[in-house]
């Protein structure tokens, strides 16, 4: 092949570039007729040779649409280059590549490739050892492994984003952030009240956007991972759900947050033991659980 290229000389090299340029200009692919129209002065024997070469090297891909053959340009950076692999490996590699950074489950690979389980396992293992692909554990199901290309960064739906470390949800981290966010909102409100002015001013001054909170949290340096503004937004929403803050929308479509007070102090019923008793359903006049000898009540009374 190399020798032939050399024999054909500069003419051939020129042809290669022309065809690549042509294919690049039409992302939907070029047909044989397109090529003929574009370079009428070059003999079909010469450009077919060059097309064959490009197809083999993976720069062009062959598609069939309504009976006509189409060549599509493919970026050489992502091009399939499974050296020293057999056809099965190539097929599997291609399936995994298509799945992108979301990854693909082994069962889906089997359906798509029509390989049997043992063969597929062998292929995957070999690809893994060659570091073409990697297996990533998904947070959605702890036992579910998904495969993706080795150099890809897994999607946040697979890793769970900033809140997951090794498939474990870091609830403590979230709790700390939740508290810090609330502290920030509270501080802002207290500062606004201290500044004085009318109540309307106080209220408007105590509003903050997620970006402000993001800045505060980043400066605190409590997070090992880089948090995005969206991450903070979802933390702030949990503060809202805790009834410690309210959320409104400003004219730019941004969310504004503000610390608020509740209407009521805790209702009387939960200030007794019975109101929060986990076995209140089983409590009665007769039987082991009764108000006369209730341990919880005794403890509470002796407080």
């Amino acid at each position: 092949m190399q020798k032939e290229d050399a024999a054909l000389g500069e003419d051939n090299v020129f042809n290669d570039d022309v065809i690549i340029e042509l294919a690049k200009s039409k992302p939907n692919g070029i047909s044989n007729i397109d090529i003929k129209n574009e370079i009428p002065d070059v003999l079909p024997e010469i450009w077919t040779k060059s097309i064959n070469k490009l197809l083999k090297s993976g720069t062009l891909e062959l598609f069939k649409d309504k009976g006509t053959l189409l060549y599509k340009y493919k970026d050489p950076s992502t091009k399939t280059e499974v050296k020293g692999s057999d056809n099965e490996e190539k097929v599997v590699y291609k399936i995994i590549e298509e799945a992108g950074n979301k990854g693909i489950w082994i069962r889906d690979i089997r359906f798509k490739s029509n390989l049997n389980m043992t063969q597929l396992n062998k292929v995957l293992k070999s690809l893994e050892t060659k570091k073409y692909i990697k297996a990533v554990k998904s947070v959605a199901a702890s036992k579910k492994k998904v495969y993706m290309l080795y150099n890809l960064e897994p999607d946040s739906s697979v890793t769970g984003g900033a809140w997951y470390q090794d498939q474990d949800f870091e609830s403590e981290f979230v709790d700390v952030l939740n508290q810090q966010c609330y502290r920030f909102l509270e501080g802002k409100r207290d500062a606004a009240i201290k500044l004085g002015g009318g109540p309307l001013m106080c209220r408007n001054r105590s509003y903050v956007t997620a970006t402000d909170v993001h800045k505060f949290i980043s400066e605190l340096g409590i997070s090992k991972v880089q948090l995005s503004v969206d991450d903070i937004e979802s933390i702030l929403y949990t503060v809202v759900l805790d009834n410690k803050a309210e959320r409104t929308v400003n004219p730019n479509g941004e969310y504004l947050y503000r610390a608020i007070n509740p209407f009521l102090k805790s209702p009387g019923i939960v200030r007794t033991t019975c109101g929060i008793c986990p076995i209140v359903e089983r409590c009665g006049d007769a039987g082991l659980i009764n108000p006369k000898s209730c341990k919880y009540l005794t403890e509470w009374l002796n407080d």
């Binding site: 809140w163 949800f169 609830s171 979230v174 939740n178 009318g198 109540p199 309307l200 209220r203 979802s234 933390i235 929403y237 949990t238 759900l241 805790d242 009834n243 309210e246 409104t248 608020i260 007070n261 509740p262 209407f263 009521l264 102090k265 805790s266 209702p267 009387g268 019923i269 939960v270 200030r271 007794t272 019975c274 109101g275 929060i276 209140v280 409590c283 006049d285 108000p291 006369k292 209730c294 009540l297 009374l301």
Partner: protein, 495 residues
């Protein structure tokens, strides 16, 4: 109408009136029945039953109506009024803070008697307060105070079938001279005999309701806002029936004038418009603007306020009963109305497993309900159904009411039990107290009194002190539970 409800009512009657009345009450709680049936099922002598019923009727706890074939009277227990007895301390306190001590004594006496004629009431109260003032002034004052209680509708004429609506708050014709002669120990028929007066609980509830609203608003915003809503409510009564769900429009200028005139809250007076604005714009929707005329007129959305307050109370109960994560999930379900577990997991930032545990725990305790939507049978493939979580507030409120009754019952049972356990000691203390008191009245003092007092040993004293503390705590708790009951009742009333 449930087992818990019945238990509480039975216990209240037992504590206040004794066993016979409690038994009779229990029978007519189960089903309203005639005198004959009560005697049959209670196995109490007919004279006793009659007595019990008349006591209950006097306290407005039993009502009666004619049987279908007009042959006998059917007696029914007035459940609301029985539970109301737990709220009496609050009523008395309300009157005390709003007016002064003589009013308090007047109301207290009415509550103690159930119903009473005006003259008798004044005689009774005058006897209690005689030592402080000269009789003539006192009587005049009591008469005036009583009349103002009637005008303010705290006290109403006991209504019978023949009472007309306009007679309810008609002032009685009181002859102070007559009262004075009776007070001096002579017999005379009083001018207003046969006209009985009783408490108008609705009026008290109205005040308690307003107090609750003002306190809540003050908690959420500040005292100035509390004052604003208080004045709004006050102005509301000028044009509106007290128990409608949203008031008629109130011109805001009127309120502004009052604020300026009173000048108790300078901050509110200076920034009046801003305060109104904030209250109106707030997500809670306490007031609503209905017109621009005369500086804007606003409606107070009382029903809405109570829905909000009830939501918050229920959320807080979830928070205390389970934990803050559960209340977070509960609030999310409230905000989204219908929501799938997957969505909840993403929004509340709690591990999926934990979310599932909490969701099904809340479901088990009846705070949540599940709606399952099945795909139609025609669609092929794995049959997927949607599980949607949802909250039915009125259902939750009823569950909470039950919980309140149960808690009340438990607390009261415990109190009785503790009293029973330490009966001997308490009786001894009583005896010693009466003896020493008697001795002091006789003018004996010194060692002999001390000797008697020392009959209660230090360890006994310690126990007595502990019991006293315990009783105080239990009674206080009863009142606190009643607060929750009041809020929930208000919600159901407006619902």
């Amino acid at each position: 109408m449930s087992l818990q409800h019945r238990n509480v009512i039975n216990l209240i009657l037992l504590e206040r009136f004794g066993k016979v009345i409690a038994d009779v009450g229990d029978i007519i709680f189960q089903n309203p029945s005639s005198l004959y049936n009560i005697v049959k099922s209670a196995d109490i002598r007919i004279s006793k039953v009659k007595e019990a019923l008349s006591v209950l009727i006097k306290y407005n706890l039993v009502t009666f109506k004619l049987n279908v074939d007009s042959s006998a009277a059917i007696y029914m227990l007035n459940l609301k009024n029985v539970l109301l007895m737990l709220r009496f301390p609050k009523f008395i306190n309300l009157i005390k803070t709003k007016f002064d001590e003589t009013y308090e004594v007047l109301v207290e006496e009415i509550l103690l008697k159930g119903c009473v004629t005006a003259s008798e009431l004044i005689i009774k109260v005058a006897k209690r307060l005689q030592e402080q003032k000269t009789v003539n002034i006192l009587l005049q004052e009591l008469k005036d105070n009583f009349n103002s209680l009637v005008t303010a509708k705290y006290v109403t004429r006991l209504s019978t079938q023949v009472t007309k609506a306009e007679e309810l708050y008609l002032l009685p014709n009181l002859d102070l001279k007559q009262i004075l002669t009776v007070l001096n120990g002579e017999n005379e028929t009083l001018s207003d005999a046969g006209i009985y007066w009783t408490i108008n609980s609705d009026r008290f509830h109205q005040d308690l309701r307003d107090q609750l609203i003002v306190n809540s608003v003050s908690n959420k915003f500040d005292d100035n806002m509390g004052e604003l809503i208080r004045l709004l409510l006050q102005q509301m009564y000028v044009r509106t029936d007290p128990w409608v769900s949203s008031s008629n429009p109130i011109p805001i200028l009127e309120v502004k004038d009052i604020v300026k005139k009173r000048n108790t809250h300078p901050q509110l007076a200076t920034f009046f418009e801003q305060y109104v604005n904030i209250l109106e714009q707030d997500a809670t929707g306490i007031i609503r603007k209905v017109g621009e005329a005369s500086g804007g007129s606003f409606q107070v959305e009382i029903k809405h306020i109570f829905t909000q307050l009830t939501w918050e109370a229920v959320e807080e109960i979830v928070n205390e009963k389970f934990d803050s994560k559960a209340s977070r999930i509960f609030r999310l379900v409230k905000l989204r109305h219908y929501i799938e577990p997957e969505q909840i997991q993403n929004l509340v930032m709690i591990p999926a497993k934990e979310v599932k545990r909490i969701l099904y725990m809340l479901l088990e305790e009846n705070f949540l309900v599940v709606n399952e939507l099945k795909r139609s049978a025609t669609s092929l493939g794995p049959s997927k159904s949607f599980t949607l979580f949802h909250i039915r507030l009125s259902q939750v409120v009823r569950t909470m009411l039950e919980l309140c009754y149960k808690t009340l019952y438990n607390i009261m049972t415990r109190r009785c039990h503790e009293k029973y356990l330490n009966k001997r000691l308490i009786d001894k203390k009583h005896r010693v107290d009466t003896i020493t008191h008697g001795m002091r009245v006789q003018g004996i003092s010194g060692d002999s009194v001390l000797d008697i007092e020392e009959m209660i040993t230090p360890p006994e004293n310690e126990i007595l002190e502990r019991i006293g503390k315990m009783m105080k705590k239990l009674s206080l708790t009863e009142l606190e539970i009643d607060e929750t009951l009041f809020l929930l009742e208000m919600y159901l009333k407006y619902e």
